[in-house]
């Protein structure tokens, strides 16, 4: 269960203060697939970062299974990011110097998973996203869609319960985007993973159970998706 209570987040951008979130309240149940939509600057990504423990609110509470993120120190947040959540970014954010396999192994290195176990799991995850034959390729040798699939495999490395995706298809062609969304859908359906996707793309949003529309740092509308996965 993810719960945000009256959350505000203010950024200093040069001389001006940017109100990214203004008193936001939201609940997301375990196993839900949620899409967050809205124009640029509406606070979508900030919301995602707060849920994932990458950022902290100025006021309010962000609860992950009754654990208040705002009360955690740097190490505890790192622990949370390492074990409970997985991130997928628009620009993939793979480490360019490492192979696909090493990239997927990385989160497990920080959790001190033994080498052999790590290797096996990374290989299995890459096979699951259809990259069993690309293990030793570096990001620069992979297509955008392949990179994003490596990123998903990496996000799954420590068996998180929540997957956070920030415009996961934003840099991909329609077909690759479709593949990525199919993978996310499967994770949600088969493993009951909570999935939260930030997107501009209605084609992406239609995979979600609920669509949350944001504007000016607040929730404008929450809609149940009746055309789910179509």
């Amino acid at each position: 269960m993810i719960k945000l209570e009256n959350v505000t987040r203010v950024y200093q951008m040069g001389q001006t203060l940017v109100q990214a979130l203004r008193g936001l309240n939201l609940e997301i149940a375990d196993g839900e697939f949620v899409a967050i939509m809205g124009p640029s600057g509406s606070g979508k990504s900030t919301l995602l970062h707060l849920i994932g423990g990458l950022d902290l609110p100025n006021t309010g509470r962000v609860l992950l299974d009754d654990l208040d993120i705002a009360q955690q120190n740097g190490n505890q947040l790192a622990e949370l990011r390492g074990r409970k959540v997985g991130f997928v970014f628009q620009t993939f954010n793979l480490v360019p110097t490492l192979s696909a396999l090493k990239n997927v192994e990385l989160p497990m290195i920080f959790q001190k998973i033994p080498r052999k176990e790590r290797y096996e799991k990374a290989r299995r995850l890459l096979e699951q996203v259809g990259l069993g034959d690309r293990l030793h390729h570096k990001p620069s040798e992979l297509s955008g869609g392949e990179c994003q699939r490596v990123a998903i495999a990496r996000a799954l490395a420590n068996d998180p319960r929540i997957l956070l995706a920030d415009e996961p298809t934003g840099n991909l062609d329609a077909e690759s985007g479709e593949q990525i969304m199919q993978i996310l859908k499967r994770l949600n359906e088969e493993q009951k993973m909570t999935i939260i996707v930030v997107t501009h793309n209605p084609d992406v949003a239609r995979y979600a159970h609920r669509i949350i529309r944001m504007r000016y740092g607040q929730i404008e509308e929450i809609a149940q998706n009746t055309l789910e996965g179509v």
């Binding site: 970062h49 994932g52 990458l54 950022d55 740097g74 190490n75 790192a78 622990e79 990011r81 390492g82 074990r83 997985g86 991130f87 970014f89 954010n93 793979l94 480490v95 360019p96 110097t97 490492l98 090493k102 990385l106 989160p107 290195i109 920080f110 959790q111 001190k112 080498r115 990496r154 996000a155 490395a157 420590n158």
Partner: protein, 414 residues
């Protein structure tokens, strides 16, 4: 865990190959200089030690009168100015811890040869009975090229250094005149590399040896000695024996000053050690410059990899993980620099030991033994550990900066 970090750091260095190598090069130069200087310095000390080991640490050299640089000649004990004075050697022989006593007498005399015109004042060294045999270390450069060695009954005979024989134009069996007394040349010594000689008779190539009693006959006196060589008995403490010699001779009214091989070698080692430390300190400055280079590279790296640091944090890396990653990377740069620097330092000191040996040959000791750079395992291991630590230390500030980056801001960095 450490292996994984080493692996990651290595991947990073490889991906920025040129810059990594240039940074490593900065360390290499410093380490090379330090290792080469220390190795040469150690070699020099070893060479001095060997010199005195050859003479024998049980040997005490005693100078009648002021001795040691205070003689009327003022030339010091390494050169000349050793005025012969009456010494009762039997007193020394009676000291229980004394095993052997030998004497040298050094005089300057007019030397001429029939085959050459003109004449010259030369240093003539008179050898007391048994001194050659009993102090073979002291006379280790006394090797005959032709003729024979002295025999107990010999009187007006001479053994010449190689160059002196050439200068005088004489060979074995020829006659030379010392202070108008005719001497038969019975032996000529092997030429020795320039500069090698011995205490008291200088460059052995120009040496002129005669029996002690020949000098006594020429000077019409007896019992005068310039240098006394004393060998301490086995197990006796050399410095104690030296003190006994001094007090015994003082009681006789003929005070002597003494030096032991140990004393001289310690004194020279001390001086060399000082020089070595100074040079190493200067070399260390270049190492410092290398360390600044590492720091610069690591700061650049942190800046370049800000986004990557954000990614690592997003997937669960803690501050200390990031810190370790960067410290290990800068440590590795230092370590690689150390490895290559040690190899270059060894190479450089081996190559330059020839020059140093030649320089040493003109030195105070006369470079009696061969010289080579010396590498101890401690020096090599110490240098490697030191360069790793130096590299890591240079990375501390950049690594801290990286570790404390806030994940969201790092991720946003373009």
């Amino acid at each position: 865990m450490l292996l994984d970090y080493l692996d990651l750091a290595y991947h990073n260095m490889r991906s920025r190959r040129l810059r990594s190598w240039l940074t490593v090069l900065g360390i290499v130069i410093g380490v090379t200089a330090v290792v080469a200087l220390i190795a040469l310095g150690q070699g020099m000390r070893r060479s001095v030690e060997r010199e005195f080991e050859a003479i024998g640490y049980d040997t005490i050299i005693a100078f009648p009168g002021g001795g040691l640089g205070q003689g009327p000649g003022g030339g010091g004990f390494f050169g000349g100015g050793l005025i012969a004075q009456p010494i009762n050697l039997d007193v020394l022989r009676q000291i229980p811890q004394v095993a052997q006593v030998g004497a040298l007498r050094i005089e300057t005399a007019m030397v001429t040869s029939q085959k050459m015109e003109g004449q010259g004042f030369l240093r003539v060294t008179g050898l007391g009975p048994g001194v050659r045999e009993n102090f073979s270390g002291y006379f280790r450069n006394f090797a005959l090229a032709a003729g024979r060695d002295f025999q107990p009954d010999d009187q007006f005979v001479a053994v010449l250094g190689n160059r002196l024989a050439t200068d005088l134009g004489v060979t074995v069996g020829d006659e030379i005149a010392i202070d108008n007394q005719s001497f038969t040349v019975i032996g000529i010594l092997q030429p020795i590399e320039q500069g090698r000689g011995g205490i008291g008779f200088g460059n052995i190539n120009n040496a002129l040896f005669v029996p002690m009693k020949a000098l006594e006959a020429l000077n019409q006196d007896e019992g005068k000695v310039s240098i006394v060589l004393v060998k301490a008995a086995k197990g006796a403490k050399v410095s104690e024996v030296a003190n006994r010699i001094k007090s015994a001779m003082s009681r006789q009214g003929t005070p002597v000053s003494t030096v032991t091989a140990e004393e001289i070698s310690q004194r020279i080692s001390g001086v060399l050690g000082g020089i070595q430390m100074t040079l190493a300190a200067i070399a260390a400055i270049s190492l410092l410059v290398g360390a600044v280079g590492v720091m610069n590279t690591m700061y650049t790296s942190v800046l370049e990899r800000t986004r990557e640091i954000g990614i690592l944090k997003a997937i669960g890396a803690k501050d200390r993980h990031i810190l370790s990653l960067f410290l290990i990377e800068s440590g590795l740069i230092g370590f690689f620099g150390g490895v290559i620097g040690v190899l270059c330092g060894i190479g450089l000191s081996v190559l330059s030991s020839g020059f140093v040996a030649r320089a040493l040959a003109f030195g105070p000791v006369g470079g009696g033994t061969s010289f080579g750079a010396e590498f101890s395992v401690g020096l090599i291991i110490g240098t490697l550990v030191f360069s790793f630590v130096l590299g890591a230390l240079s990375g501390v500030l950049p690594a801290r900066q990286a570790a404390h980056l806030r994940p969201v801001e790092a991720l946003r960095y373009e």
